[in-house]
């Protein structure tokens, strides 16, 4: 078992250079290896999940250096959950990308995709704060490449914004780590947790600065208001499958908040008390802006991007309560919203390929009925209506918020914004799929004089093609996962509660990392 933990990092790290160096001119081979590698990741992740479910905290010491000195990878229930979530999502997205031919519209898609997976897996598994930074950079630099995959001036300009915003975030991350290192003298998370707990209260001013900086960094990744500005333009202009994969990237921020602010700066630590008082209003504002953005969006790409912001808002409301019940609800909602947002990006990509990005009335699109059904299901999931898992997730969050100080505000905001979201989805859904069938509405005639845009021609060519069974199976697979998540919400919640028990009793984690007491 010992070496299995590092496999989710090593497998993509070996596969990506292999794809670049050996089979760079063979797209079919790249596809086979990439899908096989990602399927392998799913299997490894399932094995790890099975192992972590027993409650063991497994520690892997790189180079066999003991914990505070070397870098460790740590597998607990939370990491295992995130790893399998990433692997399953990546497999669906990859199948979609291959099925629609997105991977052939630029170079090195598969290599970048594998590097992105390596960064994600590493970020979820590492037990070292600086190593977390390094894996953030790995996943970011791969995401820069994926973001501008396929080219086009709008996408490149959105890419510049995205890269610069994230570079600033990285700089801030380094400042935060430097501050924390200066105070605690360690970067190992478990060791840092002990030192923070042992620090006398009057010496914690600098530590608080570090903690707040760290929170800001993770809030940038998680697109919390007012640091969400990078998300709509980036996600709306990224290629569809890439945006679908990016649905997990905001969750990296949420994961990091959950990890650092239960382990190192736990809710009972005097040094970091009062931080969640900042996070909760920001999360509520994020939720509101996201849902209003859904209502106001005039392109389907932006609609989906704002749906991601809204789901991050709900997720962070649950996280910022920092109670075991709320965190368990957050974990359930995190799994749900990752799949739902990703599904919505895939649907948006199918719609864009057939009729363009704008939410206006045009001619009916090919396979409109099926895509409308998918959109309907995705919208139900994202708005949080029954019968899909979004409803259960929101119910759990509301239930967990019942005892909180802000309970009335939280309930009011979540319920009101859900209504706004439903109206927003219903409006764009009916414009996209129904109004084009209405004989009373005349679509503007096509301008004959206009020189056809190369993008338009490309779009028409793609729409003409029969729907790829692979692409559809990916979208339906994600929908199926949502259904499974709904049906198996009982076992899923049991796992989430067990995870939270582990999170709120960090001594097991710390002991396992520092003293090799775990087998």
């Amino acid at each position: 078992m010992t070496h299995w933990i590092i496999l989710p990092v090593v497998l993509p790290a070996l596969l990506a250079p292999f794809i670049i160096m050996v089979i760079r001119h063979h797209l079919d081979l790249q596809r086979i290896f990439s899908i096989a590698g990602t399927a392998g990741l799913v299997l490894i992740a399932a094995g790890l999940l099975n192992h972590a479910a027993s409650g063991d905290v497994v520690v892997y010491e790189l180079g066999d250096w003991p914990a505070p000195f070397g870098i460790v990878l740590v597998l607990d229930r939370l990491s295992a959950l995130m790893v399998i979530l990433t692997a399953v999502l990546a497999l669906a997205v990859l199948i979609y990308a291959v099925g629609t031919g997105w991977d052939a519209r630029g170079r090195h898609f598969h290599a970048l995709f594998q590097f992105q997976l390596m960064g994600l897996m590493g970020a979820f598994l590492t037990g070292d704060a600086f190593n977390l930074f390094v894996f953030f950079e790995v996943l970011l630099i791969a995401s820069y490449g994926l973001m501008i995959h396929g080219g086009g001036s709008t996408r490149l300009r959105a890419g510049v914004q995205y890269v610069i915003y994230n570079l600033l975030g990285s700089t801030l991350f380094l400042f935060a780590l430097g501050t924390l290192y200066a105070v605690t003298g360690t970067l190992n998370m478990a060791d840092m947790a002990e030192r923070v707990a042992a620090l006398p209260l009057e010496d914690t001013a600098l530590l608080r600065v570090g903690a707040v900086l760290l929170l800001v960094v993770f809030a940038i990744k998680a697109a919390v208001l007012p640091l969400h500005f990078w998300l709509p333009a980036s996600y709306a202009n990224a290629p569809g499958p890439v945006a679908a994969l990016f649905a997990i990237m905001t969750k990296v921020g949420a994961y990091a908040i959950l990890r650092m602010f239960t382990l190192v700066f736990g809710p009972d630590q005097a040094a970091s008390a009062g931080l969640n008082a900042w996070l909760l209003p920001a999360a509520l504002a994020t939720l509101t802006v996201g849902m209003v953005g859904i209502l106001g969006a005039r392109q389907i790409g932006r609609l989906t991007a704002f749906a991601v912001i809204a789901s991050m808002g709900t997720l962070l409301v649950a996280i910022s309560l920092f109670t075991p019940q709320a965190s368990a609800a957050a974990l359930y909602y995190m799994v749900h919203s990752t799949f739902a947002a990703s599904l919505m990006f895939l649907i948006a990509d199918m719609v864009i390929a057939r009729r363009g990005d704008d939410i206006v009335v045009t001619r009916p699109m090919p396979q409109g009925g099926m895509i409308a059904a998918l959109f309907f299901a995705g919208a139900i999931a994202l708005a949080g209506m029954p019968p899909l898992s979004g409803f259960i997730g929101k119910l759990l969050v509301l239930d967990a918020a019942r005892g909180a100080d802000w309970a009335v505000t939280i309930w009011a905001v979540i319920l009101a914004t859900s209504l706004i979201g439903i109206v927003g989805f219903a409006r764009s859904g009916s414009v996209l799929f129904w109004k084009c069938h209405d004989p009373g509405i005349v679509t503007p005639p096509e301008d004959e004089d206009e020189i056809p845009d190369p993008v338009e021609i490309e779009r028409a060519e793609r729409a003409m093609r029969a729907p790829s069974p692979m692409a559809l199976s990916a979208a339906f697979g994600l929908l199926g996962l949502l259904v499974v998540l709904t049906i198996l919400s009982g076992p899923m919640m049991e796992y989430a509660e067990a995870t939270v028990d582990q999170l709120y009793a960090p001594s097991d984690y710390i002991d396992a990392v520092l003293r090799r007491s775990a087998p």
């Binding site: 570079l167 380094l174 780590l177 709509p232």
Partner: protein, 113 residues
């Protein structure tokens, strides 16, 4: 020494933030570079500033300087160098395809916030 280091970090950060808030890619990239220099110096100082001390303890050593921040700085330099190269390439191709080097995209349709 401390004053010099602290003011260097402060001035570099201030200049970096000013340049990042500009509208064009070139000053923004310079600003990001300045910020990364500032953070490198800051990380270097986070292990406490000492003069003429060995990084490795030995029997005859009077004290030591913390070697870890230097390793961190090395990593940070490599990463920021690579990132700067990437952003220069992306900004160049964005400029060449859009014929403008403005950072904001206000000629695009704005939605929501």
């Amino acid at each position: 020494m401390e004053l010099l280091l602290a003011s260097a970090v402060g001035i570099l950060t201030a200049c970096g933030i000013y340049l990042v808030l500009r509208q064009r890619t070139f000053p923004v990239i310079i600003g990001v570079s300045l910020l990364s220099y500032a953070v490198n110096v800051f990380l270097f100082a986070s292990g406490r500033v000492v003069l003429n001390m060995p990084p490795v303890l030995s029997d005859s050593a009077q004290g030591y300087t913390d070697p870890l921040p230097q390793a961190l700085v090395l990593t940070a330099i490599v990463i920021s160098f690579g990132m700067t190269a990437v952003v220069v390439m992306i900004a160049l191709s964005a400029y060449l395809s859009a014929r403008t080097d403005r950072i904001d995209m206000d000629d695009e349709a704005e939605g929501g916030a």
